[in-house]
């Protein structure tokens, strides 16, 4: 029986989809069977980020409505043999499925796969309720901005009221130099407010933009800093004890870059 993990944030644009794609690919690189479920019905993105858009035939709503079998809707990623995608419908909306259907779907997927990652839509309405319904645990993505942290706090509260406790936090798009200057919230500030376990931090990295546009998850690149951060998170997800990345901020960006890689 696999584990169902929902990746959520409340606020939009903080990197839920990017995180889902990278964690999924990272898990696949470790040889585990993983399926990525795009729960953002009507605004599907995950397939684009994964570079699988033109292979979609059936989608999540087709499965829940019984238009096809689950296996028919799953898209296998040719690059990583053990990774599959269940895309969202683009022509429907969040009300096309209900939490009970999602619970059932997650159960079926968990029987087949080691990990089921659900990419949650932004917001706290129907789409959110659907996405979290079948999840065993939750990963909260936030950025070091007050608004994103507020929303993350709200989301953690809503997860708790649905009986989903102890979510783990990923802080995305950290800029160490700005944090050092006091222009950006640091990790401790965020943890103090949210009071949850930290799963990892992802530095701001241009390579994410490049990889997203190419449809090739960043985690496969061995050089980029964000890729390393994602790989560390994958290892932590699988129960390994990996120390948090440290950022040397007293020299230039490139110096820092090399130092972390050397480390």
């Amino acid at each position: 029986m696999g584990e169902v993990i929902v990746i959520t944030s409340g606020k939009g644009g903080v990197g839920k989809t990017t995180t889902t794609a990278n964690l999924g690919t990272g898990i696949a690189l470790q040889g585990k069977k993983v399926v990525l479920v795009d729960a953002d019905i009507g605004l599907r993105n995950l397939d684009v980020v994964m570079g699988l858009e033109n292979r979609i035939v059936y989608d999540l709503v087709d499965v829940t409505e019984g238009n096809c079998r689950l296996k028919q809707a799953l898209i296998r990623d040719k690059r990583y043999e053990t990774m599959y995608l269940l895309p969202a419908a683009q022509t429907r909306d969040k009300n096309a499925v209900n939490p009970e259907q999602m619970r059932q779907l997650c159960k079926e997927l968990a029987a087949e796969f080691d990990y089921v990652l659900i990419d949650c839509p932004a917001g706290i309405e129907q789409g959110f309720k659907n996405a979290i319904a079948g999840a065993d645990r939750a990963i909260i993505v936030t950025t070091p901005e007050v608004s994103a942290v507020r929303d993350a706090d709200r989301i953690i509260g809503l997860l708790e009221s649905e009986g989903k406790h102890n979510p783990q936090l990923i802080v995305n798009r950290i800029r160490p130099l700005m944090v050092k200057k006091g222009d950006m919230m640091d990790i401790d500030d965020i943890i103090e407010i949210l009071a949850v376990d930290l799963l990892g931090i992802i530095p701001e990295d241009e390579y994410i933009v490049i990889s997203t546009n190419r449809g090739e998850p960043a985690v496969t690149n061995s050089a980029a800093l964000a890729s390393l951060a994602y790989r560390n998170i994958v290892r932590r997800l699988m129960g390994e004890n990996v120390p948090l990345m440290t950022f040397e901020t007293n020299d230039s960006l490139w110096g820092k870059f090399k130092k972390v890689l050397g480390f």
Binding site: F128, D153, R154, A195
Partner: protein, 216 residues
């Protein structure tokens, strides 16, 4: 003449607001005058709610009020006490995930204390007819509304409203009092824009008509 009686239209219907400190005979007289002068206005109204200071009315005074209102075809629908208040507040929260947006909601007798043994996150709300102790932080966007005192064993960054039914002696205490806004009885205090992190446990109370914060 000072107005000790006021009719207000609200979402829930007609509300009768009474000045708590006025003499009851004055209130009755003013109410009678008001009803007399606009008798037609009130016909057809189903009832009124009485707000503010109703707790100060004795049973006898309340009966007199009811009979006077009845003479003009009005029912005393309900007293807007803490019970009615909390259900009204619940309705304000239109987002429901799970059973209820309110984590703890009790309509207990006054004088009791509710202990909430965890932190409150944004969007969570505690409404209690008595005093409340929160064993954890109150985050921005969370609300604690109590008839009595509020104590936060942690950092208070959310909204705290003590003495919601008009108790001016109510206090708000926190290890770190960093709320953007504090409300005690009918008073609202706003935090300064460049608030420093407090260095010790603090208490907020009303001193001569203003909310004052001092070390606890």
């Amino acid at each position: 003449m000072q107005e000790d009686v006021l009719f207000k239209g609200s979402k829930g219907g007609l509300e009768l607001v009474i000045n708590q400190s006025a003499d009851f005979t004055v209130i009755l007289r003013q109410l009678k005058d008001k009803l007399e002068s606009a008798a037609n206005f009130f016909t057809g109204s189903t009832g009124v709610k009485v707000v503010s200071g109703t707790n100060a009315l004795t049973g006898d005074e309340r009966r007199q009020l009811i009979s006077l209102l009845a003479d003009y075809g009005l029912d005393l629908h309900e007293q807007l006490n803490s019970e009615a208040l909390s259900s009204e507040l619940v309705q304000d929260t239109d987002i429901h995930v799970g059973d209820s947006p309110v984590e703890y909601r009790h309509e207990a007798e006054g004088g009791q204390t509710l202990i909430v043994s965890r932190m409150l996150r944004g969007g969570q709300k505690v409404v209690f007819d008595g005093s409340v102790i929160i064993m954890g932080d109150v985050n921005p966007g969370a609300e604690v509304i109590a008839n009595g005192n509020i104590t936060v064993e942690g950092t208070c960054r959310g909204l705290a409203h003590a003495g919601v039914n008009g108790d001016q002696t109510a206090t708000i205490t926190a290890d770190k009092l960093m709320a953007g806004q504090l409300r005690i009885a009918g008073l609202i205090a706003r935090a300064p824009d460049n608030q420093d992190e407090p260095t010790c446990r603090e208490i907020a109370r009303i001193v001569s008509g203003a909310v004052v914060i001092e070390p606890a």
